[in-house]
Amino acid sequence: MNLFCTGLSHHVANVETRERFAGHAEIDCVLRRAGCSEALLLNTCNRVEVYGASDKIIGTEEIARCLARNNGNQLAGDFSEFYRYEGADCARHLFRVTSGLDSMVVGETEILGQAKKAYELARTSGAAGPYLHRLFQRAFRVAKLVRTHTEITRGPVSVGSVAVELAEKIFGDLANCKVMVLGAGETSERTARALLSHGVTDLRVSNRSPGRGANLAQIVSGRAIPFEKWPEQCREIDILITSTSSETSLLSRKSLKSILRERTDRPLFIIDIAVPRDVDPDVNALDGVYLYDIDSLQSIAEQSLTLRRQQVSAAEAIIAQHVAEFGASLSRGLSRSRPSDEHPISESSLRPSEL
């Protein structure tokens, strides 16, 4: 039996090319026209791949024609960007994909959920048989092992997720945190949404233009606060997100010091996304105040990415071991497969996806 994978990813093809082959790709087409005995389509924003098992060798062009959005016959010679892996290389590729090593953001975990969905779809439609079953169950196991035994998913990698991670390291449970968004910018909205998705319920929005402030407050299920009243709110809030277009600093060390006297001694986390900055950098020196500007947030995201990249070799070692085992079992045939390989890994055993 010939086990193979062919497709396009963000590494080899731009989005225009990928979308030409991801329109209404139907796995039935691959099964019927190309002559696969088993096939599975993994279609995400960064990749479109077909995993298949067949008695005869099926050409990449044949598969690509099935994936083409328009008439595949008009795409002659346009298949050069397709890659193809067979046997153990196919397993290696899938193990790397499900472990997040082949992703645009190394270590992202969303791909594993997408692979599981694709597998489930192929299984229920009857397109996935014993070969793909073995391959994907092993891939899910490997992905879990990589996550458990390396730090490949460690650390936040976007501004929003860095803000959430820091807030959780200061306050623990975010459910009781009071958040104020100052300025209705796009990044502050994204950051506020990230905090909301992690349990924040008390969100206040203040903007120079009351209309935009009220609009954002409505979008994020928050409360609009008149702009002239935002300093008063600093006595109550735990997290302040600022992104106004003010030319001068809105919050100085002196003004915050007087506000802090009226606060209980809960910490104050300030996320200053504005350029020029809304908050005087000296504020960070005050006890219990943690100030992060856009550069420091991005720097932490970069640190996390670096940490993840350092873990790639450890992850590759785990994958290599499993590729060897899978290759050996493949050459022995499926009849002698170990029962443990057949147990699917449940969704509940996985960590929540990265933001």
Binding site: E151, K169, I170, P267, N284, D287, G288, Q311
Partner: protein, 264 residues
């Protein structure tokens, strides 16, 4: 046999230290199971040592400086095993183990095999006073460790340089809640220990008593400052370290002067 029990116990705690250092160096840090397991194992051997020694002496094994340090290390491990899982402070094990290794290492280099059975007759109030005070010291030690963890976490958050350990340290608010509870727990036990010291029925060593009251006043001031919100959490964390250092110095002074006065 006693010495071997102590050596095995120390090796267990040393394993936790070694594992922590190794994992920190490799950037993969999972303190949960291993540290808790080896510290639990070390605690069993500590208990066995104290039990064997207690039977041999016919009293609470607090007759010399090494025994006092081993009892203190036992108290630290006991409170860690009780407090760690409750407050999800498993990482505390990474900080607890070095302190225990230090205390037991010191005990092993000292005259741990020397018994003073004949010179120090059993006195229930004295034993209650000593054991209560040492368990209180254990709580203060854990508060000190939580204080170190707080300051490490706070420093990383202030400077924006997040090390691998950052992701494994508990949130600041949780750490501070643990510090406060440990301080109250230790303070209550220390008060009991101090009060029972006046019931021993022997002439009071006034210098030691004044120092002990000084330590009691220091912790009372920390708790009062916290209660009135005059002390910021960071200062409380720093004072926990200072307080425990003072308490440890006092403990050493008491035991050392006790040994000197019991010499023929």
């Amino acid at each position: 046999v006693e010495r071997y029990l102590l050596v095995i116990s120390t090796v267990c705690f040393l394993a936790a230290v070694g594992r922590t250092i190794f994992e920190l160096r490799t950037g993969v840090f999972r303190p949960m199971r291993f540290n808790f397991f080896v510290i639990g194992l070390g605690f069993i051997f500590q208990t066995a040592f104290l039990s064997v020694r207690g039977h041999a002496l016919g009293r609470c094994p607090l007759t010399n400086l090494p025994e006092v340090f081993i009892f203190l290390a036992w108290s630290v491990a006991l409170i860690y095993l009780l407090v760690g899982p409750v407050y999800r402070l498993s990482l505390m094990g990474a900080f607890t183990a070095p302190l225990v290794v230090l205390l037991q290492g010191f005990a092993l280099t000292g005259p741990v095999n020397q018994h003073h059975r004949s010179r120090l007759p059993a006195n229930p109030w004295l034993e209650f006073h000593a054991s209560m005070s040492l368990v209180a010291y254990g709580a203060f030690a854990l508060a000190c460790i939580a204080g170190v963890m707080y300051l490490v976490q706070e420093r990383q958050l202030k400077t924006h340089h997040l090390h691998s350990i950052f992701y494994h340290l508990p949130p600041l608010t949780d750490l501070f809640a643990a510090i406060t509870r440990l301080l109250w727990f230790g303070f209550a036990l220390y008060t009991l220990g101090l009060a029972s010291g006046f019931l021993v029925g022997q002439p009071l060593p006034w210098l030691q008593a004044i120092c002990a009251i000084g330590v009691w006043l220091l912790y009372a001031a920390i708790l009062q400052g916290r209660h009135l919100r005059r002390l910021a959490p960071k200062r409380v964390a720093a004072l926990c370290i200072i307080g425990f250092s003072a308490a440890l110095t006092l403990l050493w002074g008491i035991t050392f002067s006790g040994q000197m006065s019991s010499l023929p």
